[in-house]
Chain length 334, copies 3
């Protein structure tokens, strides 16, 4: 029972060494809880002011083929907090600043970077790039989001947040609001929620419903699924409310977008419909899907959620490279 | 009397912990001299080849929402020389590489980064962004320039430079040349000069005169103010000559710009009008406002001035985070 | 005889301190072998898992006025692996993110950065910028490629690769294929090959022949030079095959480009013409000049070659700053 985080066994820790982190589905329940346990270990160490150097002397390559400030800074900070070093390639489709602009493939870029780094974090607008990278590299590759594919560290930090905010996730009711069709985040999260028989309550525009295949996967795992017409209805029975953004560019018909664009927003009024103690999550950045007057609500966890990304990413970097050592600088070094 | 720098008292050092550095006006004379004293302490340590680690294990976020190479590299080096780590977000208006391009507010970006960093340095083209950041963050925020607002670390390094170059600033005559209307730098500097009863001598195009409110503030503080028609007249009685650039885009009428654009430039000929030992300062980058033949003049202090930014920024980072410790790596680590 | 690498004498190491690394021609045979010897020393240390801190407390500035991911990440990693810190200015002609966009000269930028860094690495699209930088800086400058000028660290890593792959380079036959007119890489390499009386075999389009002056320099040094019409003919007698890209923009007449563009490509079929044990090199990135089916050939050394850049650049940084110390963190720090 996951009411609290447990530091994993040596065998479990050893099983991560050299592994690529490509998607949420690769994690068994035990592996998921192992990552969360190591994340909690690092969170505690940082809170106590310990100077970690588990990854002293090691180098992480952050290859961001599309901009993602939050994820990049979170991974970079994770490596720094572990005492390691960072090399960064940050480019956007509009601003190709690397040799990939000369026509180099992701495969070749990875073959090159693999010479320099002990672990490679890759973000790409192209689905499948993380797997291409993993095949090219001799060092572990961590997928930081590839197109419509996976974003496993986000799903892991979401689970970490749920447990920190609510304790045992067993049987919780999770409301998912907004764009459930293209939302990589919620798709990955359900892969973990199924381990704890969480109930799913969903509210989205018709165009942006959760894909049937994912719903079926949940049902096959004995997860109860419910569809609601309004956000107020969905939040009414939720312990966790996961907000996502409804983006204009997802709609072929702009009239359709205009009709629904204000239906799945949360504001201070929405809070009236909450169960006591309900928690609001969001992968950020937000635009207007959560209004500012919600920020003061004690269960508004989205900024804490972003913070949790740090500990989970520290765990992934240290686990895959075999550096979960709990090495602290001695007293005189503080 | 500030003829030399004095390391501040423990009480004074403690008073900086957790403070935001938003603008020059927030500094009392004692606080100003405390920062300079700590800067001098760090300069001495570096000159002696000491390996500092006052900020070992700590992370600085450099958020540059507009390009400013000099200021960014100076802050980043300051953190590295203190043994700390750096995460950087560098974007330009033309090249929005962060999630702020998806519509995220500065407030939300800071709430996120506040989870990762122990101190946040922000540069923005929008006046007031530094204060928004300070309100959003639980960690100290250092304003590295916000629009037409403040740029306090520049004013501090300017004062540090004046004292290093001339000793006691009491009663010095400071000439300010060029754009005194939009020049954030000279506006901030006068807030410090008033503590030492410096005389101000100004030469600028009519369109770019020092704002009346600032002149009045100087007069109210018993500072003598004089306006000159030419650069030659202004430099004639100056101990310090602070050059700024006259930019074309400040003029509504281009004919007006053409009429004055060459009037406030300094070249080898201008040096003939100097008092012996006069010092030239400039916040850099320069274009043509100081010609290359001036660089060999011993009092041409602008590159030394840029170097002083390092020590002052080390002081600000260590003071606000409570890390002025003078922690050096032991002998065997050298 | 350079069959293996030899760690240089103290006098030789001392002779590098404070030197700028501007071009391959500046290296005597003894100096070349000294760099390779230090590179081998660092490679061995890294392979043994040692945590170097020869450059602990030091700062390298990476000033990239044009994008070059491979070279930048390689230099940055070199500094990190030596325990040092990195500040980076990465801009492209299309995306001027530094104050150089405000009209600042390279000279002034270097004068500024010289205050912050212990060693300056510069990459520029303008031939001669590295020398301008060296004149402006008090710290060592390493040229990471300037326009059609030099790229000495590339030539050094190429020699390091040749010795690692083939042992003693004395008398080897080196085939150079593709664009030999504009290829900075091959021009620099011949400056080293002449020390070992390597035979040169060249195959290129008529428009892109090796410049006469370089050919003459080789002949003057007693190097045998041969021109071949086809790639198959050139590779037939080669121990080392150095591939370069034939770029469309080099041709005034596109019909001419179309006529030759496929003539100097290497694919699996080309391998049939190889001498046993022949080694393929390429400075990367490649586009289509080496097809993917060549990658599995054991002598395909181009990714290993990129990796060798790390050790050679570690050597250059430590040598020029006087930090070849072989300082390792103590056991308890691992």
């Amino acid at each position: 029972m996951l009411t609290d985080f447990t530091f994993p066994s040596e065998e479990m820790i050893a099983s991560f060494v050299g592994k690529n982190i490509l998607g949420a589905p690769q994690f068994s329940k035990e592996e998921l809880e192992a990552v969360l346990g190591v994340a909690a270990f690092y969170e505690k160490a940082l809170k106590e002011g310990k100077r970690l150097w588990d990854m002293d002397g090691k180098v992480m390559a952050a290859l961001f083929f599309e901009p993602s400030t939050r994820t990049r800074l979170s991974f970079e900070t994770a490596m720094h907090r572990l005492g390691g070093r960072v090399i960064t390639l940050a480019e956007s489709p509009e601003n190709q600043i690397s040799s990939t602009s000369k026509g180099e493939t992701v495969h070749d870029t990875i073959k090159m970077v693999d010479n320099y780094a002990d672990v490679i974090v890759i973000r790409s607008p192209r689905t499948g790039d993380a797997e291409i990278a993993a095949n090219a590299a001799s060092h572990p590759v961590v997928n930081a989001g590839d197109g419509f594919g996976q974003h496993p560290s986000q799903a892991l930090l979401d689970m970490y947040t749920i447990v920190k905010e609510k304790g045992n996730p067993e049987g919780l009711t999770v409301a998912m609001i907004g764009d459930l069709k293209y939302g990589r985040t919620v798709h990955s999260l359900v892969d973990f929620l199924k381990y704890y028989k969480c109930r799913l309550v969903m509210a989205s525009p018709d165009e942006l419903k959760m894909p049937e295949s994912i719903v079926q996967k949940m049902l096959d795992n004995g997860v109860e699924v419910k569809f609601c017409a309004t956000i107020d209805e969905a939040v009414a029975e939720a312990d966790i409310i996961y907000m996502t953004r409804v983006q204009k560019e997802r709609f072929a018909d702009l009239a359709e977008y205009d009709a629904v664009k204000d239906m799945f927003l949360m504001n201070g009024e929405t809070l009236q419909h909450f169960k006591p103690g309900a928690v609001i999550m969001h992968a950020l950045p937000r635009v207007n899907e959560i209004s500012l007057d919600v920020d003061d609500y004690p269960g508004a966890a989205y900024f804490r959620q972003a913070g949790n990304g740090l500990f989970v990413r520290m765990a992934l970097l240290a686990l895959t490279t075999g550096n979960v050592r709990g090495a602290f600088k001695p007293e005189w070094a503080l």
